[in-house]
Symmetry: C2
Subunit: 189 residues, 2 copies
């Protein structure tokens, strides 16, 4: 199928492919390297794929005809590769965005997982884990509040998501505080 034009309806690529395609849909010509950095800015709400995975998705998108590749020769090392969406790519992006059913939320919340198994642990150690997590949450929020004002003009929607992210991390922080209280109660009882 790759290489063809996927005339026969939904190719449902993996989510990572749409993430890459979506980044290119902002209209700029980007390299795999730049895409990787962008995808790292999405880490607040979407796990960042490995570098090798980005390159793999680009090859796949190219094979589907959803992007074009422009090569720039760099003597003595591999060509630099710039990618751009095609019309077919934009169409597929819109189809995904507007018609593809939304996949369920995926969370791997390792902190909750440990608290879930808390009966096997020292409550103080659990409280430490929660405190570490709270620190990390504050860090995320700080990074987001730096990032958000930088998102203007074509990035209205990313700015919206950044705001959502801040709400998310703030809410998580208050929940963590409540859990630490609960742990204190359990210990005192």
């Amino acid at each position: 199928m790759p290489g063809g034009s996927d005339r026969a309806g939904a190719p449902h690529l993996p989510a990572t492919a749409y993430a890459v395609l979506g980044l290119l849909a902002f209209g700029r010509e980007l390299t795999g390297y730049e895409l990787r950095k962008w995808s790292m800015n999405m880490r607040f709400f979407y796990w960042s794929p490995a570098q090798s995975q980005i390159y793999a998705e680009l090859r796949r998108l190219l094979a589907h005809g959803f992007v074009t590749e422009r090569l720039e020769a760099r003597p003595g090392r591999p060509d630099k590769r710039f990618y751009r969406t095609t019309e077919a790519g934009m169409a597929e992006f819109h189809r995904w965005l507007e018609r593809e059913p939304v996949e369920p939320l995926v969370i791997k919340h390792s902190v909750m997982l440990r608290l879930f198994f808390g009966h096997g642990a020292d409550p103080d150690r659990l409280s430490d884990v929660l405190e570490d997590y709270a620190r990390w949450l504050r860090q995320q929020n700080a990074e987001l509040s730096v990032l958000r004002p930088e998102l203007s003009e074509p990035f209205t929607y990313p700015a919206l998501v950044a705001e959502w992210g801040e709400l998310f991390y703030a809410a998580e922080l208050t929940a963590v505080e409540k859990m630490r209280e609960r742990l204190r109660d359990l210990r005192e009882r």
Copy 2:
């Protein structure tokens, strides 16, 4: 290495293995099938592995000597297999819980992802996506509030996590409402 006793420090199994081991650490003898149902109760904060994955992890835990297997013959079909933690398994469980560094939070938030790329979509369609998500969030919360009171005695910590889950979904719900307002503002402007 499998088959040995992992005397030489941390074997770092994948998170799924610890989830299974942790469930067994509640002390009951369980089948793969039962473990799968339990793991589905953890879907609120930890993605549920496929059935085949649970069985694979059990084989791995067995090979590591972290669980024992008891067979029950069932004429005409495969033996029923009951699993139980060993001392080594409990030790490994505690090591993971208390000393293994906590993995970072993994989220694949498909709704945020779509909103992030919202410039390519009809705002009404985005609002619909958010509404669907809100409905799902309310559903999760309803299920949790049924589940929570059932968690007593040895399940104090799971109950705690259920409470956290409710806070999580409720907070997410208010964030979604705010995002829908923002979309309305964007459309009216």
